[in-house]
Symmetry: C2
Subunit: 296 residues, 2 copies
């Protein structure tokens, strides 16, 4: 089997890249005005992504297209999503399909087949339990793919159900985290991390340590930095001393960091990506300096 998603991610971080994930949430009205003017929204999105991918690929290992913004454009948007995933992988990037699917077994199998055709890793929703996750696990075990299970999301309403406490005092998010740990058994990379990971919002840094303990081998996908209020400096517990264990995502702060009419939008994206890289490198240096144990 070729190197798995987690192995390839660890290779890139080992060779000096930051564990940065660039979210692709394209809104037509926020695209640079000069990119493919007069074409359809879906075509303009593909043209924009095609133009920024080399810049991203020099600075970050992973992109995360959010399929909702493509679905908003119907079948043409769906085709654009497929093309964005294809271009990113052809350019050497790993792709997390942010699809948040979750359904009963036979339907989950259809989703897994549909979405692993385009992405190396997927986000999935745990509400339906193990049989909704199983078809995705099969692809993790057999084809080197990975999933990030929603555990503790970054949005204000997340506490409503995720922070309910069970009779033993554990939050629902913690119970899901322990399931993530079990689902990932037998999928560990040489670096010690499993192919079954978790989404934990940066806005919940106060819960990060407890969740990390419940799922020590789970690679984390951490959204919520920047516009949503999470701070990179609060994310030390996500990483081990080698910088393995998580990717931090930023979407709008990267690919909407300019006004649509700004002719210097390429430079602004490069500067935003460089600043993101520098912040993550600071965090990892800090993490490495304060741990004797290379594994969390």
């Amino acid at each position: 089997m070729a190197a798995s998603y987690v192995e390839r991610l660890e290779e890139r971080v080992s060779s000096g890249m930051s564990p940065a994930c660039v979210g692709i949430d394209p809104r037509p009205e926020r695209l640079p005005a000069g990119v493919a003017p007069g074409r359809s929204a879906a075509e303009r999105i593909v043209a924009f992504v095609r133009e920024v991918l080399p810049s991203i690929a020099r600075r970050a290992p992973v992109v995360k297209p959010n399929i909702a913004f493509f679905e908003a454009l119907g079948a043409d948007g769906w085709r654009a999503y497929e093309e964005v995933c294809r271009l990113a992988r052809a350019g050497g990037l790993l792709v997390i399909g942010d699809v948040k699917r979750g359904d009963i077994g036979s339907t989950a199998a259809a989703y897994a087949r549909a979405h692993f055709a385009h992405a190396d890793a997927l986000t999935v929703n745990p509400y339906l339990g193990t049989d909704a996750i199983e078809p995705f696990l099969a692809a993790c075990r057999e084809a080197g793919r990975a999933i990030y299970v929603l555990v503790r999301t970054s949005n204000p309403g997340a506490a409503m159900f995720q922070s309910l406490r069970d009779t033993r005092g554990h939050t629902v998010a913690e119970v899901v985290a322990r399931a993530v740990d079990r689902w990932g058994e037998d999928t560990a990379s040489p670096g010690g991390f499993a192919s079954v990971g978790a989404v934990v919002g940066a806005t919940r840094a106060d819960e990060l340590l407890a969740l990390r303990r419940a799922m020590p081998r789970a690679p984390l996908l951490i959204p919520g930095v920047g516009a949503q209020g999470g701070r990179i400096t609060d994310l030390r517990a996500a990483f081990d001393g080698r910088g393995f264990g998580a990717v931090v995502n930023q979407s709008r702060a990267m690919l909407e960091c300019f006004e649509p009419g700004d002719p210097d939008w390429r430079d602004r994206i490069d500067a935003a990506l460089d600043a993101f890289h520098a912040e993550l490198q600071d965090l990892l240096r800090d993490r490495a300096a304060t741990t004797a144990n290379p594994h969390p």
Copy 2:
């Protein structure tokens, strides 16, 4: 505003239709061999659905295309989903888009925009809390649409998280059910039911009464009858004395009730639809006979 989804559903049930929902989960290998042979899988699906829709529309008020089976065919499948929804609505059917979406606010807004373009009602996942639901609620309040929130699903693994008990002894599903009740405030139809409903699996008939009490105004979407083991005769608590309050879904037992090579597949579907109608009418007669109170 034109009549809402819930009002139109109640009209159809009042005029003698059964509260039946026909699930459209098309698998190419299970289509009748004689339908559009040699064409693409997506084209064959559309041709099959086009042919069965009049039969369905004479017997049932609602269809529920499950988008996973369309996504499995990529962008062509997505286009087929749009076409199936369009054909069903043009044929007088109500359409529940079984999409189970759920994401943070701005992304949920993109999903709501994307999917209410094709369907009268949608299934949504509650794990992310209120702000993930809010953009869908706006369409319920302002445009007569409806949502069915996953509360207690029909699959074997559902208990894993949905049946966790909180410190007050309520299951997660019951907590979600109470949220469904609140979300539906101010959306009640003249018949007394809200535009915010819930998915409750027929395999969990033992929990149906408690969930109904937690959300007395919520229209229910009940899957899990037939292949999954749920029985229609166990579903009395879902309905009021008028037959309002729920739709029962069957998918494979309707549209895969024949072998692909069977030349009489049309007759078999008609017979399956007729039997489904008769079973539901028996249930509703039984329900009406045993209640003095027309409202649950």
